[in-house]
Symmetry: C2
Subunit: 232 residues, 2 copies
């Protein structure tokens, strides 16, 4: 390993963020030592603001004093800097393109849909849940197929980016009160989630799920209160 | 060049799409021969639907019979498959991460903002224009800085992804009736746009701008008609 690759690594994140979590998993899978700095999103450190003046968001990886923002950009950087231990992308250019396509699909955010499902009620929430289920079915059918992991026998970048579905989403479902990822509706994706959480590095690096439930419950209450205020 | 890299290349696109345009520029910069297949978005080919069953969208690049969707994924594939001629990403991993960060920023879509600026009127449109200008200022200040191109002396992946601002956006501005990218408001980004369009490969590979204006004018009329129908 070059001296550059061995330079000091720091990660600015927040414990509840699936975006921080992706980076933590990648670093752990590669066996990279790093210092973790928990950020308070209500009172971000001067350092974070200077590292990511454009978005002012976590996660930020700092390697040898140089900051990198955006979780997908960080993950590509980690793969390029430490390619040997647990490769996160296939070697072949076409297979890499295919993996990057699925990283994009599973990372696509539809904030409106997400808020209607997680922060909505009644018909609006049911409609959003149905739409969300359709998206998950596409990921299951076209992305996962009959493989154990998106990466095949081993987890790769797609699994890491999809990983929030395995631990974060089930808590969201409980809080939102509508379950979608079940053995009856999404049998292969459900099994994938079980297998993913069974990978030692993933199992040993998950946030406290009870604490996450409290956190997400408060978030939903806040969303419902805002919706009520806007409608009154 | 390996026989694999030399396999037949086809591009499914539409003439007015900045996403097709990105791929055309990259192929032209690299000197890759390809066959271009114009898709009718109102009547997509069976081939396109089979190539991109998830999004059913252009562009799709087909290399040796294997399809790749999503313009950013295609661009990374082109760079990995034909790295020698006109590199689109820097060699150093940190510089690559920085370039990918800016590719992400300039490619971020805010559909609501975009529709309010391009398809809106009155106060709603003015507010969206102001927000859009702020985003462009961030790109100018933090991304471009005092460089000639985002890539330095030569255009790179960031310039290609930002390229729609140089030819497509000025037509949008005319149609929308609010100019934002001007020497007084965004001097460095304006100069970048002029320099970018001056690069021979870019200048020689632009759609017909008069035809684009007619196309975008029809789009705006349609958006205004929809808004009126929804409000009546």
């Amino acid at each position: 390993m070059s001296s550059k690759a061995m330079a000091e690594v720091k990660l600015h994140g927040t414990w509840a963020s699936p975006f921080s979590q992706r980076v933590i998993w990648a670093l752990k899978l590669k066996g990279i030592d790093y210092e973790y700095i928990e950020e308070d999103l209500a009172n971000k450190s001067e350092l974070l603001l200077s590292y990511n003046p454009v978005h002012k968001k976590i996660p930020v990886l700092v390697h040898g004093g140089k900051p990198i923002a955006e979780s997908l950009v960080i993950l590509e950087y980690i793969e390029e800097t430490w390619p040997e231990a647990h490769p996160l992308l296939p070697h072949d250019a076409y297979d890499r393109a295919n993996a990057r396509f699925w990283v994009k699909v599973v990372s696509e955010e539809n904030r409106a849909l997400f808020l209607s499902y997680f922060g909505g009620t009644g018909e609006e929430q049911e409609k959003a849940a149905k739409d969300f289920l359709q998206r998950l079915k596409v990921i299951e059918e076209h992305g996962l197929g009959d493989k154990k992991f998106f990466g095949g026998d081993e987890i790769n970048l797609v699994d890491i980016c999809c990983g929030w579905l395995a631990y974060f989403f089930p808590v969201m479902e409980q809080v939102a009160g509508i379950k979608l990822l079940e053995p009856t509706t999404l049998p292969r994706l459900y099994e994938w989630a079980e297998n993913f959480k069974d990978v030692p590095v993933i199992r040993e690096n998950l946030p406290d799920l009870a604490k996450l439930k409290t956190h997400l419950s408060r978030n939903r209450e806040r969303l419902l209160a805002t919706a009520t205020a806007n409608n009154s």
